[in-house]
C-alpha cells in the first residue's frame, strides 16, 4: 500500500475558506517581502518592530494611520462595491481626485455658513466622482466595453486636470513653496479627544455599515449579488441588469469622489496639488481584493494597509521608502491572488493498493 498526496481542483470554493486562504496568502507574501528586505541588506525585523512602534507606539502614530485610512477606506469601499458586481473599478483614484476637485471648486468660490458649504462640497464631490465614472459605466453597460482600461485612462485625465487646476486656473498665486490651488477655508468638525482627526473618519464606517446592511437584508443587495454571480440568471429573474450596472458603477464613483472631499479636511490638505492623492485608489484596490468585497473585511484590511502606508512614510530614513511599500503591495496582492486559487484546491491523501504480480 502506498500513500501519496495530490491536489484536487474544485469548481466552486467555499467563500469562508477562500477568505482564510486569501489572508494566509497575504501573510506568506509579507514574509516573502521581509526575506527580500533581508536579502537587500535591510534588517527586516528591525523595520517590522519600528513600524509597529511607529503605528501603535503613540497617539500620533494611531492618528496618522487613521488619517491615511480615510481615503484608502473610501476608495476601497468603492472598489469593493463594484466587485460585488464583478466590475473592476480601477479608476477610483481619478474619481477621488475629481471629488476633491469639485469640492475645492465649491469651497473656494461659494460663501455662506461653514456647514452649508461643506454639505454642498460633499454633494458636488459625490456627483463629480460619479460623473468621472459615467463614460466607463455607459460603455460597459450598453456597449460591453471592459471597464478596466477605460476607468484607468480616466485616472490620467483626472491627474492632468488636477495639475491644471493647481498650476493653472485655480492656482494660489501667493503660495510659493508648493504650487497648489487656494486653500478651502472650511474643515469638518474635529473628532473629540484627537489632535488631527475630524468626523471624516466616521464616514467610511457609516458607509461600510450601510453597504453591509444593503447586501444582507435588502432586495437591491440581493439583485446586485445575483448580477455579479450570473447576469443571465439575473435577467431571468426580471432584474434590469444594464440599469443596475450603471447605477452601481456611478455609486462607486460617488463614494470615491466623496473620499476626495473628506481628504480636504486632513491636516495640510486643504488645497488641491499634484501630490494630493498618494495613489490612494491603488491602496484601496488592494484592500478590496484582500477583503474579497466583504465590507467588514474592507475596514480591517483598510486599517492594515493604512498602517503599512503610514509606517512607510515614517520609516523613510530607515531604509524603507514609499517605493518599497508599493513593491510590497505588489507582493501582497500576488499573495492574495494565489491564496484565492488555493481555496479551490484540496489536498487529498490517495492510498493505492499495489498488487503483486503472480507468476
Amino acid at each position: 500500500m502506498t500513500t501519496t498526496y495530490r491536489f484536487e481542483r474544485r469548481l466552486d470554493a467555499d467563500p469562508r475558506h477562500a477568505a482564510k486562504t486569501r489572508i494566509y496568502g497575504a501573510l506568506i507574501a509579507m514574509i516573502v517581502a521581509g526575506l527580500l528586505l533581508l536579502l537587500t541588506g535591510r534588517n527586516a525585523f528591525q523595520i517590522f518592530f519600528d513600524a509597529l512602534d511607529a503605528v501603535l507606539g503613540n497617539q500620533r502614530g494611531v492618528e496618522g494611520t487613521m488619517l491615511r485610512a480615510i481615503p484608502i477606506l473610501m476608495t476601497a469601499l468603492a472598489v469593493a462595491l463594484s466587485l460585488r458586481m464583478k466590475v473592476w473599478n480601477i479608476g477610483s483614484d481619478g474619481q477621488f481626485l475629481m471629488g476633491a476637485f469639485a469640492a475645492v471648486g465649491v469651497g473656494i468660490h461659494l460663501g455662506g455658513p461653514g456647514w452649508f458649504v461643506l454639505i454642498v462640497m460633499a454633494i458636488a464631490a459625490a456627483f463629480a466622482g460619479a460623473a468621472w465614472m459615467l463614460v466607463p459605466a455607459l460603455a460597459r453597460a450598453f456597449w460591453d466595453v471592459n471597464e478596466i482600461i477605460t476607468t484607468l485612462l480616466m485616472n490620467f485625465v483626472a491627474v492632468q486636470l488636477v495639475a491644471w487646476a493647481s498650476l493653472g486656473f485655480w492656482r494660489d498665486t501667493e503660495a510659493s513653496v508648493i504650487q497648489s490651488t487656494e486653500a478651502v477655508p472650511y474643515r469638518l468638525a474635529d473628532l473629540p479627544g484627537t489632535n488631527q482627526l475630524t468626523i471624516a473618519l466616521l464616514v467610511p464606517f457609516i458607509i461600510a455599515a450601510v453597504l453591509w446592511w444593503v447586501f444582507r437584508s435588502t432586495k437591491i443587495g440581493f439583485e446586485i449579488d445575483t448580477i455579479g454571480g450570473n447576469p443571465r440568471a439575473a435577467s431571468f429573474a426580471g432584474i434590469r441588469v444594464r440599469l443596475r450596472l450603471l447605477a452601481v458603477m456611478l455609486t462607486t464613483g460617488s463614494i470615491a469622489g466623496l473620499g476626495g472631499m473628506l481628504q480636504l479636511s486632513a491636516p495640510g490638505a486643504q488645497a488641491l496639488s499634484t501630490g494630493f492623492s498618494a495613489q490612494f485608489g491603488l491602496s484601496g484596490f488592494i484592500v478590496a481584493a484582500l477583503a474579497g468585497a466583504a465590507f467588514g473585511g474592507v475596514i480591517v484590511g483598510g486599517m492594515f494597509i493604512a498602517s503599512m502606508f503610514f509606517a512607510g512614510l515614517v520609516l523613510q530614513t530607515k531604509g524603507l521608502s514609499v517605493f518599497i511599500i508599493f513593491g510590497i503591495y505588489g507582493i501582497i496582492l500576488t499573495g492574495v491572488a494565489l491564496g484565492e486559487v488555493a481555496a479551490r484546491y484540496r489536498l487529498l491523501r490517495v492510498e493505492t493498493v499495489t498488487e503483486v504480480a503472480s507468476a
Binding site: L11, S217, F222, N230, F236, A237
Partner: protein
C-alpha cells in the same frame, strides 16, 4: 462477429477516483477491430471517465491499458493520438473563429511549418476525398450546423490516423436526421477496418447501430454482450439497477384555454425573424409538446412567453389577459414558470447560496419581502419547502448552489419553476443531459403539474419524449407551427416530415 476479431483497445482493471469517490472501479473493457462497440451507462457511471483515460485526458490510478496488444500509459492526448486512439468529445473542441481547414490542421505535426489558407484548404480537400466525408473547408466553425461541426471533429481525428474512434454521446446534440447520417458514417468506418466506441444512454440508438455493448454502472462493469438479442428493457435495467418504465395516463382535456398566442413573431440574436406568426393555445390540464429540430424557433418561443424576448407582432395572453411584452416579473406574477433550456447557465447562480437561488424568481413577492427589505425567515422557510418538495440533497441550504451535484442543481431549478407555475409551465428540453432515472423524475413532476390543472408547454428535440408526455403535438419548422396534432391522430412519419418542412401529400424531397 462469431470469430472474435483481435482487440483494438483493451482496459484491464482500470480504476480512477476523484476526491475519494471511485469513478471507475477495476473496470475491464475490450473493443475489437472492425466493430461498433457501445458503452452504455447513466450519468456518473464512468463512461466518460473511461473514454477520457483512453484519450489521454485523465491518467488512471491503477490498471492496464492496451492498444493493439501493447501496453500504454498515456500522459497527454497527443500520446493517445500517436497510438491511434482518437476521441470526439460531446462538447466540441473546435476553435469557432477559425476555418474548417485550420481546425483540422491544428496541433498536428504533419501540418507544414509555413502555411497559407490555400495550402491548408487543398490538403483538407484531399483528406475529405480519401475518407469520404465532406464539409466546406473554407467555412468558419461558427457558420456550420452542429452536425457539420461534429463531422469536422471526426475528420480531424481520422486525418491523424486514428484506428480507434471514441464518440462521446455524439447524438445528444444532433437532429434525428443528422443522427442517422452519423450512423452511416460509423458503419462506413468500421467496414474500413476501424473501431468505433459509441458512448450513449439512448437505448434505441445503441441497439440500432452497435455490434457489442458494454454497460457500466456506478463505476463498475455490469456486462459486455453482443447486441444481437439484447432488448431495451434489459439494458435499461442493467444501467439503472431497477425497472424504469414510466406510465403516462392521458385523459380527455376539457379545461379552458390558459395560454394563447396569436400571430406571434420575434427576432433572434442576429436580428433575423425566428418566430413567424405563431398561433398556439394551451388549455388547463393539458401538455402541448413542441416537436421540431433544434433551432427552428423553439428557444425564441419559450423566451417570448416568459417576456425574456421582445415580441415584434402578435399577442400573448394568459388567462385571457394580454401580457405581450410585459415585464418578466408581471409574467411570473401571473403564474407562468419556465424551466430554461440552459438550466445552470440561465436558471441558477452557482456562486450564490441555495437560499438565493430558491427565491430567485419570487423574492419580490409579499411573502418574502416588505418594502426594500427581504425577509430572512421567509426566505429560509421557502427554501426549506422547496428543498423538501424537490428532494434536493444538500448539507446546508446556505451552501453555494455550485457546490451541489449537477442532478441536485437540476432539481432545484425544476422544482422552483414548478412552484412558480401555478397557471402555465414552459419546459424547454427539461430532460436534456439527464440520465434515465433523473429524466423520469422530471417527467413525473411535469405530469403532476398537468394534473393540478396547469397548462404545460413542453419543448423538446427528443421526439419520443414529446410523444410520450403530450396531449397534443405542435410541429415547428423555421419559426412556424406546421400543424397541431391530437395524440390519438399521431403519425410518426408525418411528424418527421413536418419537422423537415414537408407534409405527406408533397412526398419526400
Amino acid at each position: 462477429m462469431t470469430d472474435a476479431a483481435p482487440a483494438a483497445i483493451e482496459a484491464r482493471g482500470i480504476s480512477k477516483s476523484f476526491g475519494g469517490v471511485h469513478a471507475l472501479d477495476a473496470v475491464d473493457f475490450e473493443a475489437r477491430l472492425g466493430e461498433v462497440h457501445a458503452l452504455l451507462g447513466e450519468n456518473g457511471a464512468g463512461k466518460t471517465t473511461l473514454s477520457n483515460i483512453f484519450a489521454g485526458i485523465y491518467r488512471s490510478d491503477g490498471g492496464e491499458l492496451l492498444v493493439d496488444g501493447s501496453t500504454y500509459d498515456f500522459k497527454n492526448p497527443s500520446q493517445s493520438i500517436d497510438a491511434g486512439v482518437g476521441m470526439v468529445h460531446q462538447h466540441f473542441r473546435l476553435v469557432e473563429t477559425m476555418t474548417v481547414a485550420e481546425n483540422i490542421h491544428l496541433g498536428w505535426p504533419e501540418t507544414p511549418k509555413v502555411i497559407s489558407q490555400r495550402a491548408l484548404i487543398e490538403r483538407t480537400k484531399r483528406f475529405m476525398d480519401e475518407i469520404g466525408l465532406h464539409v466546406d473547408p473554407t467555412a468558419k466553425i461558427w457558420q456550420l450546423s452542429v452536425g457539420e461541426q461534429q463531422r469536422v471533429e471526426i475528420l480531424r481525428v481520422l486525418a491523424r490516423g486514428a484506428r480507434v474512434l471514441i464518440l462521446d454521446e455524439p447524438t445528444a446534440v444532433l437532429t434525428s436526421h443528422e443522427a442517422l447520417e452519423l450512423f452511416d458514417v460509423m458503419r462506413q468506418l468500421v467496414d474500413g477496418g476501424r473501431t468505433v466506441i459509441f458512448i450513449s444512454h439512448k437505448l434505441n440508438e445503441v441497439l440500432h447501430v452497435s455490434d457489442r455493448i458494454t454497460v457500466l454502472r456506478n463505476g463498475k462493469l455490469e456486462i459486455t454482450r453482443d447486441t444481437q438479442g439484447a432488448t431495451a428493457r434489459e439494458l435499461a435495467r442493467l444501467m439503472t439497477g431497477e425497472e424504469t418504465d414510466l406510465k403516462v395516463e392521458h385523459r380527455e382535456v376539457t379545461g379552458e384555454p390558459i395560454l394563447e398566442l396569436r400571430g406571434v413573431s420575434a427576432l433572434n440574436e442576429r436580428g433575423v425573424e425566428a418566430l413567424h406568426g405563431v398561433d398556439l393555445t394551451v388549455r388547463a390540464g393539458e401538455i402541448v409538446g413542441i416537436a421540431g429540430v433544434s433551432g427552428n424557433g423553439q428557444t425564441e418561443l419559450a423566451e417570448s412567453i416568459s417576456a425574456l424576448r421582445r415580441v415584434e407582432s402578435g399577442t400573448i395572453s394568459v388567462d385571457g389577459k394580454d401580457v405581450t411584452n410585459g415585464s418578466v416579473r408581471a409574467i411570473i406574477n401571473m403564474g407562468v414558470g419556465q424551466i430554461p433550456e440552459d438550466r445552470i447557465g440561465v436558471g441558477m447562480v452557482g456562486s450564490a447560496p441555495i437560499t438565493n437561488n430558491a427565491v430567485l424568481r419570487n423574492y419580490w413577492g409579499d411573502a418574502l419581502s416588505t418594502g426594500m427589505t427581504l425577509s430572512r425567515e421567509g426566505v429560509i422557510d421557502f427554501t426549506k419547502t422547496l428543498v423538501e418538495a424537490g428532494r434536493v440533497q444538500t448539507r446546508s441550504i446556505f451552501a453555494t448552489a455550485g457546490q451541489m451535484s449537477g442532478g441536485n442543481q437540476q432539481r432545484l431549478v425544476a422544482t422552483r419553476e414548478a412552484l412558480v407555475a401555478t397557471r402555465v409551465l414552459v419546459a424547454a428540453h427539461p430532460t436534456r443531459g439527464l440520465d434515465v432515472l433523473a429524466a423520469h423524475e422530471v417527467q413525473t413532476s411535469i405530469l403532476e403539474r398537468r394534473d393540478t390543472g396547469c397548462a404545460v408547454l413542453l419543448i423538446s428535440d427528443d421526439l419520443d419524449e414529446v410523444l410520450l408526455l403530450s396531449d397534443r403535438v405542435a410541429v415547428m419548422y423555421e419559426g412556424e407551427i406546421m400543424d397541431v396534432i391530437d395524440r390519438v391522430d399521431v403519425d410518426r412519419e408525418r411528424i418527421g416530415l413536418l419537422m423537415g418542412g414537408h407534409d405527406l401529400e408533397e412526398g419526400t424531397p
